[in-house]
């Protein structure tokens, strides 16, 4: 019995000749928040889809609670408890909070063949769940379109947890949000982790990741540049690593050079 709830060992994914991911390893314990950092094109999306069961890894293994797992579809990943919240959130703005919360998994009542969608129970659960995270949905039949970006993100996360996620994979949950909204979402993520979930937080925003993360995996051009515990790495070091520090250093040298030439003239 290892300490880890879920392990992704040496995951590789190729698309034809393109190496999208190479030997990426991530291991998470219960209650841990691992931030997956990387610039655009680092392979974050491919990795998410591999975790969610959309892509099958070409190499490597996924071990969940000490069992080796092969996902054939996103449903398999959902069934064992890997809940992925994509950037688009899979919410329909025109539909109500309740109808979104239970979309695809509506509670039913009544006799077979004449089963109805149990709207009352669903309303109660949705309002209750949103209330637990401090979002007061005055009316669970109100359209999701009337909620703020942060509230929508929390709704999507809360839905994933309600439907049995043990590992939460969150794709850029704060990217489109303002400071206040982002902190509301981050607070909720920390709360979820403290209740025993493992969270993989994918972001390119170190300032959002650093305060909440326990460990950090940096992805660059499809390869993992290593996983670091918070105590071992500073915010600045992380930032320079994920932006491809060398590139920025080179840019700085070049700018200085230009400056020098300019002053000379």
């Amino acid at each position: 019995m290892s300490d880890y709830l879920v392990q992704f060992n040496n995951i590789s994914k190729f698309f034809g000749k393109v190496i999208a991911l190479k030997d990426v390893t991530m291991r998470l314990k219960k209650g841990e928040i691992m931030c997956l950092l990387g610039d655009n094109g680092a392979g974050k999306s491919t990795l998410i889809k591999t975790l969610a069961g959309v892509h099958k890894p070409d190499e490597g293994e996924i071990i969940f609670e000490d069992n080796k797992i092969v996902f054939d579809s996103p449903k398999d990943a959902l069934d064992i408890g890997i809940g992925t919240v994509y950037q688009d959130l899979a919410l329909v703005p025109l539909m109500s909070v309740t109808r979104n919360f239970f979309m695809g998994r509506e509670p039913q009542k009544g006799i077979p063949f004449l089963k109805t969608f149990d709207v009352e129970t669903a309303n109660k659960i949705a309002a209750d769940r949103m209330g637990q995270i401090g979002i007061d949905v005055r009316d669970p039949s109100q359209a999701v379109g009337t909620m703020s970006g942060g509230e929508r993100q929390c709704l999507a996360i809360s839905r994933a947890i309600y439907f049995g996620a043990k590992v939460l994979v969150l794709d850029e949950p704060t990217s489109a949000l303002g400071v206040h909204q982002a902190s509301m979402v981050l607070k909720y993520i920390v709360k979820a982790a403290s209740e025993g979930l493992a969270v993989i937080l994918i972001t390119h925003n170190v300032h959002h990741a650093y305060p909440v993360g326990n460990s950090f995996t940096v992805l660059n051009r499809g390869k993992s540049m290593g996983t670091f515990q918070k105590k071992d790495i500073s915010r600045e070091k992380l930032l320079s690593m994920m932006a491809g520090g060398e590139e920025l250093d080179k840019l700085e040298v070049e700018l200085q050079e230009m400056d020098r030439i300019h002053n000379k003239n």
Binding site: K75, D88, A90, L94, M95, G104, R105, K115, D136, T146
Partner: protein, 375 residues
């Protein structure tokens, strides 16, 4: 300690109460998709009440007349509305009506099938056509507008070609004699509540013929089907899991798929729904007229879509209601018949239809913005 936490929790519940904004019944109503069509229907009735109140339009006979027209349109409009909520269009509704008509008439008249078997055959063909439309849209990812436009031409062409090939004409008469004693045809050909009309006639409350029987003999089958389908569709949309899947499929195909809604299956079933509704329409018309005509149902697809739009369905899917579409059909049916009772030239009906639709689309767009705007 416990006391303290209690007081906090009671305070927070107080806060919640404060934030519970009183929503006026008017606002709740404004958020319903069918509001526009309901208001429109009331306006239309008031208008004709004033303009044509004394002309016999609102006699039992006159009312059944425009209700019959509304109900026929409503049967297909409700199916079109459900498909539209699911995010797709069906332009082949009108052609399907013509096709279903000859699917009933040719086997019954030329091949000697019993009428009920021809009717079953027509419904089976409808399921096939709907399934084909659906599978084409789902598998190819092409816009349903194009796929069903192709089907509009194919079905109308098939209807004409097959009918002329087998009968040498474009009409198939002679069905009326087959209706009697048929185990299935009565479903589409029986006036109901005849006793009520006879009774009202005997009290001289409604108009009578010269022989003393009432002018209006009973509720036509179209009206019964219309009411039943409106209730059924509303129940599905509001009260079942499948209904939620329809809204989800139309609202956000990708999102719905990601959370496990079988979007493809939902859409295919909705296409089958419009084809089956067209066939119900065809059954009622063919058995009422006693003949099938290859041109029957022409342009009905556009009227059905117009009624659905006036009823509050968004062209982009994910929003709308069956009751709204039903009222949309009532507006069009009432105006198209009511115009005969006024001095207005009937040519103006199409102008009204177009203007109504434009107003509805602008109104719907405004509602959607209201519903989706962030606070």
């Amino acid at each position: 300690m416990s006391l303290k936490s209690k007081s906090i929790s009671s305070k927070s519940s107080l806060n919640e109460d404060e934030r519970l904004k009183k929503i006026s019944p008017l606002r709740v109503l404004l958020n319903r998709p069918e509001l526009g069509a309901l208001g429109g229907s009331i306006l239309v009735f008031i208008f004709f009440g004033i303009v044509a109140g004394d002309t016999g339009m609102f006699s039992a006979y006159g009312m059944l007349n425009f209700l019959d027209v509304s109900a026929n349109l409503g049967i297909i409009a409700i199916a079109a509305a459900m498909l539209m909520i699911g995010g797709e269009f069906d332009l082949s509704i009108g052609s399907m009506i013509g096709f279903a008509g000859i699917c009933i008439a040719i086997p019954a008249i030329y091949w000697g099938w019993p009428l009920w078997m021809s009717i079953v055959f027509a419904f089976a063909m409808a399921v096939l056509v709907g399934y084909f439309n659906g599978i084409m849209v789902v598998k190819t990812g092409l816009p349903s507008f194009i796929v069903t436009l192709a089907m509009l031409f194919i079905l109308r062409g098939l209807t004409l070609a097959i009918t002329r090939l087998i009968t040498g004409r474009t009409q198939v008469p002679g069905l009326r004699v087959l209706i009697e004693d048929d185990p299935l045809a009565w479903l589409f050909a029986t006036d109901t509540f005849k006793w009520l009309f006879t009774w009202l006639g005997s009290l001289k409350l409604i108009e009578l013929r010269t022989d003393g029987t009432p002018l209006a003999t009973g509720i036509p089958p179209s009206v019964i089907w219309f009411i039943a389908l409106t209730l059924f569709a509303t129940w599905i949309l509001m009260k079942t899991r499948y209904g939620n899947w329809i809204f989800a499929s139309g609202g956000d195909k990708v999102g719905a798929t990601n959370v496990g809604v079988p979007v493809g299956r939902v859409k295919i079933s909705l296409f089958i729904g419009t084809a089956v509704a067209s066939t119900i329409f065809a059954c009622i018309q063919v058995l009422d007229a006693g003949s099938a005509d290859t041109m029957r149902g022409t342009l009905k697809e556009l009227e059905a879509i117009a009624a659905a739009v006036v009823g509050g369905c968004l062209l982009t899917g994910g929003y709308g209601s069956a009751i709204g579409a039903a009222f949309g059909a009532i507006i069009f049916g009432t105006v198209s018949m009511g115009i005969f009772y006024t001095d207005v030239d009937t040519d103006w009906f199409k102008v009204f239809l177009g203007a109504m639709m434009l107003i509805a689309v602008v109104f719907n767009n405004y509602i959607r913005k209201k519903v989706t705007e962030s606070k």
